[in-house]
């Protein structure tokens, strides 16, 4: 919600919005009042309104004054919100793909050190620079409570800043029509307390390590085998295993994500299984084929395996 900002790159826009609403309300009231007099007013009033002076004052002078004021205000806010990225700021590269988000955390030298998808974790109270790119068509990054939107254009790199002032999940969605299931290309910005963010980041940097209770271990091992045998690794990477495909989201820590299918489903073993079995039924047109051929036990095993990758 634009009018419920949660950070310093959305707050000023909310203020601008309210200023504009008030302006629009006042102007509309004035126009309607003039129109009301013109249509229903007593004769002397109408005569006063029905002169060319009204056109000069109401149509020309008044708008010029109001617009000049608004423009100066708008441009100064623009300047405040759109400073170029500086060295030393934390950077995350977000690449728009049909129809999900590839997320990479960069180190100080701009190298990608962490891969993730559809979720952007940021520490609260600190601006983060997003490097926005596209792998295919034009997408647009938009998390309304944290700021405006910025397009992701093939062959270009755009920047924007995000900052959340309180921990929480902030919904976002692709805002530029990108074909097919554009409507289902969601994302979540997860703002964490700095220490929790640091912990998460450290954990995320590690290779895949299934978290399993002793009794589920065989099932999870079976899931890993089915994952390999079904060729899932051709599109997905799980660091620390043979799966090194790049077409789809990195699954090294997929079990730790909050959502599935680019921000559209809750993430648990059940939804993982359902997604694998029929991703085309749930999000028609997406790039992952449905795998209805897996047996019930195998499907459950794969889901358990993925879910264990916290």
């Amino acid at each position: 919600m634009v009018l419920d900002p949660a950070g310093p790159f959305a707050g000023p826009i909310e203020t601008v919005a309210w200023v504009l609403f008030v302006m629009a309300g006042v102007v509309l009231a004035l126009v309607l009042a003039a129109l009301g007099v013109a249509l229903f007013g007593p004769r002397p009033w109408r005569q006063r309104v029905g002169a060319e002076r009204l056109v000069w004052v109401g149509g020309l002078a008044f708008p010029v004054v109001v617009l000049t004021g608004l423009l100066i205000y708008g441009l100064s806010t623009t300047a405040k919100l759109s400073a170029e990225p500086r060295p030393g700021e934390m950077r995350i590269r977000v690449t728009g793909e049909m129809w999900w988000w590839r997320v990479a955390y960069l180190d100080e030298r701009g190298r990608e050190v962490l891969q993730d998808a559809n979720e952007i974790r940021i520490p609260v109270g600190r601006p983060v620079v997003l490097e926005l790119e596209s792998a295919d068509v034009i997408h647009s990054f938009w998390a309304p409570r944290l700021g405006g939107k910025t397009d992701m254009i093939p062959g270009r790199r755009n920047f924007m800043r995000l900052q959340a002032d309180a921990p929480g999940d902030y919904q976002g969605q692709c805002a530029e029509y990108c074909g097919g299931p554009h409507a289902l290309m969601g994302l979540t910005v997860v703002a964490l307390e700095p220490e929790r963010f640091a912990a998460w980041r450290q954990m995320q940097a590690q290779e895949a390590k299934p978290v399993a209770a002793p009794q589920t271990a065989p099932l999870i091992e079976r899931g890993r085998q089915v994952f390999d045998a079904s060729g899932c690794g051709a599109c997905h990477t799980i660091r620390g295993t043979d799966a090194n495909g790049l077409a789809g989201p990195d699954l090294t820590h997929v079990g730790g994500r909050r959502t599935l299918g680019a921000g559209i489903l809750p993430n648990n073993q059940g939804t993982l299984a359902g997604w694998i079995a029929d991703s085309q039924g749930i999000k028609p047109g997406n790039r992952m084929p449905s795998y209805p051929v897996l047996s019930g036990r195998d499907l459950r095993a794969v889901a358990a395996y993925l879910d264990s990758l916290k």
Binding site: N268, G270, T271, A273, G274, G281, R297, R300
Partner: protein
């Protein structure tokens, strides 16, 4: 027109499971949404997704069996919802981290789905 139908429905229901004691169907629906059951099952009352990879749950309360093999009784259903593989090792339905109370609500909701 409707009276005979209603009557027929009552007759059908005669030896079917009673609604689950202390189960709140509305709570159950909320749990169903949160857990994403409808990713695999079409669940009446959940607009989306309408999963196709597992059984349609419309009219579930009137069905004699769970998953085609287990008797449709509240206690079994609650166990099934929490840990289906323990009842049927070949099922695709994974265990869900639900409390017994949550499972009871879910069962209550599912048994409310008896009028086709």
């Amino acid at each position: 027109m409707t009276a005979p139908l209603l009557l027929a429905a009552c007759v059908d229901k005669a030896d079917l499971p009673r609604p689950v004691a202390q189960g709140d169907p509305l709570e159950g629906l909320a749990v169903i949404r949160q857990s994403g059951c409808s990713v695999c099952h079409a669940v009446p009352g959940v607009a989306w997704p309408k999963g196709r990879s597992a059984g349609d749950l419309a009219g579930f309360g009137a069905k004699p069996l769970i998953a085609g093999r287990l008797p449709n009784q509240p206690e079994i259903l609650m166990r099934w919802v929490i840990d289906a593989p323990s009842l049927d090792p070949d099922t695709a339905m994974p265990p869900f981290a639900l409390t017994r109370d949550q499972a009871r609500h879910v069962a209550a909701y599912l048994y409310s789905l008896d009028d086709q």
